[in-house]
Symmetry: C2
Subunit: 174 residues, 2 copies
């Protein structure tokens, strides 16, 4: 009983993948009979794939935002190997809700038992996006250069393209 509780508390409550991009484009509204598909785009910046799992709370979101926005992962391309945060680059951010990231492979099939409910996930996702936007708006460098946070529509298929000069993928769990 004890062992089971312990191991559950160690299971991730959220997962993030971070990738560097030169440009990225994400569909936020599929085509309908009335209108064309809608997209958002960024130039040089950070791609943030995000997934919330059972047990994720607003505390989890705070930690995720802090990590994603402050981690020094972006190269200045000034000939040095110095890495800076996306706020200090400064760069843009594109956030992609990615429920599949919560999957766990059993045999040949992915199971998503640990994913959070759609309603709770949407709340946490909305808060994550808003906090990332707030940080970018408060940062002098990103404000001066009109850098923005773009984001996908929760629950939609994330039709996505990107161009990178090296994605330098990083995995974070919370």
């Amino acid at each position: 009983m004890m062992a089971s509780d312990d191991s559950n508390s160690n299971l991730p409550k959220a997962r993030i993948i971070l990738q560097q991009c030169l440009s990225a484009k994400l569909q936020v509204q599929p085509r309908t009979e009335e209108q064309e598909a809608q997209f958002v785009e960024i130039n040089r910046g950070l791609v943030v794939y995000v997934c919330f799992m059972k047990g994720a709370t607003s505390d989890t979101v705070d930690k995720m935002v802090k990590a994603a926005m402050n981690a020094r992962l972006s190269s200045l391309d000034d000939g040095t190997s110095k890495l800076v945060s996306i706020l200090d680059l400064p760069g843009e951010v594109i956030i992609i809700p990615q429920a599949t990231l919560g999957g766990n492979l059993k045999g040949k099939m992915m199971q998503y038992h640990r994913n959070i409910s759609k309603e709770e996930g949407l709340d946490l996702y909305t808060s994550f996006v808003r906090q990332c936007q707030d940080l970018l708006e408060q940062s002098n460098k990103t404000k001066e250069q009109h850098k923005q946070v773009k984001y996908g529509t929760y629950g939609n298929r994330q039709v996505f393209s990107m161009v990178t000069n090296g994605p330098f993928s990083h995995y974070l769990e919370f």
Copy 2:
């Protein structure tokens, strides 16, 4: 002592990210004075980011190959929600060595203490690529339709672009 050994044995020995793509293009040789940059490309298929960490062995590679090539993650796009493996799709595979995936965030900095040595990593990577190629060559569906495994140059910067109809990112650790 015991506790430390136990926790180490639970640490991941390898990480994989799998994404679906409609097309993907990867630089395998940067431009030099003598020749243009060299690229490999795939059409519809699977993007496999791979990272080996301390403790990874040929057994780890066997499990990774089996998981990546047999996991039912690819949509048939036949109007059903049926998912099949990349071998059964059939689709192409592009493998990207991604040492950054072994990183662990401490404060604002990524640490890569658990990454395997470059020499060992290259051996495991070479074996991973060859086994994926063997599986694709043995599969009737991929053979008939001339599907191939393409792969990045270990240790290089992975200049990479992709177009997806939804990456449906999955994270696996071994």
